[in-house]
């Protein structure tokens, strides 16, 4: 058991640190959920990609560095330590790309991965529907076979799609076989959000910005070449994305370590012993998360699988994020209600226990799959 990095990992870390120090914008970019901010973030993605830092774990052929899992986590730590912007490309590079690598055809990989890496095409995840949230498999949007044109016709409505207000492409599940059982007969589709028949309606979030959107589908044609995985196999394909989202990729520990460090700075400038415990606990939990992640990385590198541990992870980081930001607002006192980076972070943190599978659903998974308790009675 040891936490020391190898020579080559240290060299990788030094190179990343040097590049980030020289290139991270001095001023935080405007919110990626505004028109200007979206473009500014895309420009940042391009800069990262030009220096081959946008997708470090990918093959070199797709502008990656073939970084190991350890190096990937090292990079993420450096990234957030340097105060670099949130990734507007995250749905694509973290949620969709692993699926495209595993289930996509060569042609799909060549077509989609390069523009994902450069941030030229930003992706939105279109899973949730007005009537299908936690119970995602009850989704009703349909895909009808069109043999003549060699593809499928999509109808229905998706909602809460992050980034969809400005994004270029979407990925989502549609019911392609109405006779099949709930989890079967779903197909995974990729589609441009400006396709004929698609209407995107931005929805303002708690902070007033259009961080997510509704997406309406009216006879939208999708060719066979934009089906990911086998038709009818969409649930299985999609669930590997869900694992990624809850597990390692969506919330790398660097974010929380960096935020905890900023919280300590805030405490130094406005010390209030009443909130000292909150500061210490935020730091301690961020460290717990960092170390836990190294354990996960070791297990995955040894051939293990994320499995239900992703649910343990998700509940922990989402609660840590809220507690950390609440402590910051406590320290700010009456100034807390005034717009600030802390306030933005706080508002965003509130959604953590809801998206990527609510924490209630995650606790069910922990109880049933890790503790082995009886399954819930479900219809």
């Amino acid at each position: 058991m040891d936490l020391t990095l190898s020579e080559s990992e240290l060299a990788f870390q030094a190179e990343a640190r040097a590049w980030l120090e020289a290139n991270v914008p001095a001023e935080p970019l405007p919110s990626m959920d505004t028109a200007d901010g979206f473009v500014a973030h895309q420009e940042w993605e391009k800069r990262l990609s030009d220096a081959r830092w946008s997708v470090v774990s990918w093959p070199t052929a797709y502008s990656g560095r073939e970084a190991s899992l350890v190096e990937w986590v090292v990079f993420e730590e450096e990234y957030y330590r340097a105060g670099a912007p949130g990734r507007v490309s995250q749905n694509g590079i973290f949620l969709l790309a692993p699926i495209v690598f595993d289930h996509g055809t060569q042609e799909q990989q060549d077509r989609f991965l390069p523009t994902m890496a450069t941030g030229e095409k930003i992706w939105a995840q279109c899973w949730s529907e007005p009537e299908a949230g936690s119970d995602l498999a009850s989704l009703r949007s349909t895909a009808q076979r069109d043999d003549e044109r060699g593809g499928w016709v999509l109808n229905g409505q998706k909602t809460w799609s992050s980034r969809a207000s400005f994004a270029h492409w979407g990925f989502g599940l549609f019911r392609s076989d109405p006779q099949a059982a709930r989890h079967h007969g779903l197909t995974y589709f990729l589609f441009p959000l400006d396709a004929d028949g698609i209407t995107v309606r931005p929805i303002a979030q708690l902070d007033g910005e259009a961080g997510f959107a509704e997406v309406f589908f009216e006879d939208v044609f999708v060719p066979d070449s934009d089906v990911l995985g086998a038709p009818g196999d969409g649930w299985r394909v999609a669930m590997s994305t869900a694992g990624n989202e809850r597990g390692l990729s969506l919330r790398s520990p660097g974010r929380f370590c960096a935020a905890a460090d900023r919280l300590i700075d805030l405490y130094r400038s406005t010390p209030d012993p009443a909130y000292a415990d909150g500061v210490v606990d935020a730091w301690t939990k961020a460290q717990a998360y960092r170390l836990y992640t190294w354990g996960t990385v070791t297990r995955l590198a040894d051939g293990g699988e994320m499995g239900a541990a992703g649910s343990v992870n998700k509940v922990f980081w989402s609660e840590l994020d809220i507690a950390l930001h609440e402590t910051a607002l406590d320290l700010l006192g009456p100034e807390a209600e005034v717009e600030s980076r802390w306030l933005d972070g706080y508002t965003f943190s509130l959604s953590g226990p809801i998206y990527a599978g609510t924490n209630e659903i995650q606790r069910n998974i922990v109880a049933e799959r890790i503790l082995g308790l009886p399954r819930e009675v479900r219809k």
């Binding site: 058991m1 040891d2 415990d277 170390l291 070791t298 069910n364 109880a367 890790i370 308790l373 399954r375």
Partner: protein
């Protein structure tokens, strides 16, 4: 970089587990609480043979954490933290037989001084051993002592680490026993473990313990201060004990039921070797500078 126990460390854990699971540790602990230390001392000798007393001088803090997690899981009584973690470092050599120590203000009493061959205050022998005072954990026999000796920071941190690991083991045991119980106990025609309120409470315990463990191992590797491990392991084990009691209902509230050994031990260990408030203040000092 490999942040999991290596094969030797896993073997060591397995051998301790094998020894303890066949040692009727509950009966040992109950005798100890009643003042009959003979079974406890026999177990002490067998654990000493496995090298538990020489971990602080001959092994790494990781092995020490592995051993103390096992001691916590099996509710092994006796001044192990004192004899195997604090004193070897403070005195600079492994202790002979059973030794104990008080270190006011954080360790106000000498644990099991009636059984110990040597009783220290800091790094000097105690001048006087006073009366037994009752602990919430009946297996912890506390004695007031007189004397003066210097305390040792490195030894204190190792004792804090050992206590954290013991808490982790106790918490894991409570969770495991609670899961077994809620799968058997039926009310309203269903296993109580199928009710979501019970499931979520136990899931929260699983999550808390899962995130305390890396801090204990991280502290053993010097990545984080021992205080961080103590705070997290104390919180997690305490949550386990409160939840464990709740899901057992009234049976959990009885002394006769074995779970009581762990519930009371966790409460005692939460404040042993530094209260949560002390360790949080210590961390804050370090962080804010």
């Amino acid at each position: 970089m490999k942040f999991v126990l290596d094969a030797d460390q896993r073997d060591f854990a397995a051998s301790l587990d094998a020894l303890l699971s066949s040692s009727e540790t509950v009966a040992v602990a109950r005798s100890w609480a009643d003042g009959d230390s003979a079974p406890g001392l026999r177990l002490w000798a067998r654990l000493a043979e496995q090298g538990v007393l020489s971990l602080a001088t001959d092994a790494t803090p990781v092995e020490l954490a592995v051993a103390f997690e096992a001691l916590g899981r099996y509710a092994v009584p006796g001044p192990w933290v004192e004899s195997a973690a604090y004193l070897p470092v403070a005195l600079g050599h492994e202790v002979e037989g059973v030794a104990t120590v008080a270190l006011p203000p954080h360790v106000p009493y000498a644990l099991d001084a009636d059984v110990a061959d040597q009783v220290y205050v800091g790094d000097s022998l105690a001048t006087e051993v006073g009366d037994l005072v009752g602990s919430v954990d009946r297996t912890r026999r506390l004695f007031s002592v007189a004397g003066e000796g210097r305390s040792d920071d490195a030894a204190f941190d190792l004792a804090v680490l050992a206590t954290s690991a013991q808490l982790l083991g106790a918490g894991e045991r409570i969770l495991a026993d609670s899961v077994t119980y809620v799968k058997q106990r039926k009310q309203f025609g269903r296993e109580i473990g199928s009710y979501q309120a019970i499931k979520h409470a136990l899931a929260d315990v699983r999550i808390a313990l899962d995130f305390a463990r890396p801090l204990v191992l991280g502290a053993a590797l010097g990545e984080v201060p021992a205080s961080a491990a103590k705070v997290a392991a104390g919180d997690a084990a305490y949550l386990a004990s409160r939840t464990g009691l709740q899901v057992h209902g009234a049976i959990g509230y009885t002394q006769e039921f074995d779970l009581s050994l762990w519930i009371t031990k966790v409460r005692a260990l939460v404040t042993a070797w530094g209260t949560p408030a002390y360790h949080r203040a210590r961390l804050l000092d370090e962080l804010v500078g």
